[in-house]
Amino acid sequence: MLKFTFRGVRGSIASPGPKTVKYGGNTTCIEVRTDSELIILDAGTGIFPLSQTLFPEFPLTCHIFISHTHWDHIQGLPFFIPMFVAGNRVKIYGGQDPVTGNGVQEALSRQLEYAFFPIREAELSAELEYISLSENQVVNIGDAQITNVLMNHPAIDYGYKVSCGDKSLFFTGDHEWPYNIYEPGDDDYQLFKEHIAQKRKSIIDMVAEVDVLIVDTAYTDDEYPAKKGWGHGSFLSSIAMARDAGVKHCFFTHHEPTRSDEELEKVFQAALEKHPSQPGDQEFYLAQEGFTFEL
């Protein structure tokens, strides 16, 4: 069995309020369940409401995979209640920052510094463990297998594939497909283009034929040009990715914080009309907080 529940679908900053009630205002967090395991993808503010549902499972073991350490993907971590209760085991996985050399533990320990949070890391009662991942490293957790590929974002950002039996899902974290920094006609245009094609293949190979793709789709096609280089995808790029990889279901996430429920549905409909499905195509959905999907 493999199922998941969206606990946060918003990008950049939490956006509660009457206009985001339907799709939710929490930032990125996805609860993934297999028969035996609890795997959490990203620790945005959505991890707090998730943690409030976990008391019946104490003492529990859970595995948190961090796509990257931008705030909207880690901000809920200090409020992950199981960490405060003895007997629980929390394992946190993520990439390593090559500029500072720091591992994923920094995502938590920096937030728990005295000036930012009243409780120190040493005072957390649960058993905590940090695991730095290299690209393509395979992690076996009970009946699940998690592997990663480096995505393109202004930070080290891993996309994660979770497989269990013959079911699998892939979550991009934040991702913008790399674009050519040279103009056609520049000496290096062709070379760069080949690197991009190679990179695209390395990602598509990983995502190929998963049942579910959960993809950063922050922008509409019209908004994208003004946000090029910011590290997020558009409906155009996400739909192309889903088709290239031949996935069965595709969920758009990382909704813009200023987008109301009504506007979100409007841009989603417009995108579907603009890129009409072909026979045999995958289903597209808007990620919605609280929504559960069993594969």
Binding site: P98, H195, G231
Partner: protein, 283 residues
């Protein structure tokens, strides 16, 4: 020797890049609209920046499933912002003095490295390598003498004596370095490149660029770097403290099917290539 290597490996981690590129990086990156390709160009023209960034992207921090062979390759695989921040972190380490501590003129050294890079690329094209596959030729040429800067920076007295010896005794720099330091810049650079897990082709270009034999088997990139290194000195472009050689190693002339004079003649006027390198340094 192994003690010396250990020591140098540690010191090199703190080695700054060339002053021109450090200034340019700091200036460019304070502008949020700086063009990515301009940033890439600056990094690609500084052997220290280039080596250090290739080292980092090929290191365990990334544990990348593939070898990163150039800055452009790195930009696509680890992201522009990461490359940019790596460059900034190197730039904030300070800069190499313009007049090298050992009397190695850094501008001349850079010109020599850039000249070798450009000509190695040119020679690669002559051997039928597609223009978009000549990156290794350029990077190999740029990095081949990296060991010299390391000696000059960290063993200035020994290196100064070695340079003097080249002048007075007319021995090759490699021999002079062996006498004064116990290792030559090709060995040292090759050892560093290996330690840094740079792509194999680059390690070979650095380690074997003074070899008279085709050690490790035929190697097109290396042969081009060897020939380019000799040609650049012939035309008197830049200087990296070594004697001018007047012939190509046998296997290199066999590769091109001609001797040095003919090869040099056949690639025509190099002024344009060399002027490009010069212009870049002057900015």
């Amino acid at each position: 020797m192994s003690d010396l290597h250990q020591q140098l490996v540690q010191m090199v981690d703190r080695m700054p890049a060339f002053s021109g590129s450090v200034n340019k990086i700091l200036q460019m990156t304070s502008d949020i609209d700086c063009a990515p390709k301009d940033l890439v160009q600056v990094i690609e023209h500084d052997p220290v920046m280039m080596a250090k960034i290739l080292k980092l992207v090929n290191s365990a921090y990334f544990g990348l499933s593939r070898e990163i062979t150039s800055i452009k390759h790195g930009v696509v695989f680890v992201g522009l912002n990461t490359i940019k921040n790596l460059a900034i972190s190197i730039a904030t380490m300070g800069m190499l003095p313009k007049a090298g501590p050992a009397g190695l003129d850094m501008n001349s050294f850079l010109l020599h490295s850039l000249g070798t890079a450009s000509i190695a690329k040119l020679l690669g094209k002559r051997l039928g390598v597609m223009p978009d596959k000549t990156t290794d030729y350029f990077v190999g040429g740029l990095l081949h003498d990296i060991g010299k800067v390391v000696f000059a920076q960290f063993m200035p007295q020994e290196m100064e004596r070695a340079l003097k010896r080249v002048e007075v005794e007319e021995v090759s720099l490699s021999i002079a370095e062996m006498i004064e330091i116990g290792a030559d810049h090709a060995q040292l650079g090759g050892m560093l490149a290996e330690k840094w897990q740079l792509p194999h082709t680059l390690v070979t270009c650095i380690k074997e660029h003074h070899s008279l034999e085709p050690n490790g088997g035929p190697n097109k990139v290396l042969d081009c770097v060897v020939a380019a290194n000799i040609i650049v000195k012939q035309v008197g472009f830049g200087c990296a403290g070594n004697l001018i050689e007047d012939r190509l190693p046998d296997h290199v002339s066999a590769r091109f099917g001609m001797e040095l004079a003919e090869l040099q003649e056949s690639i025509g006027n190099l002024d344009e290539e060399l002027e490009k390198a010069n212009a870049f340094i002057r900015i």
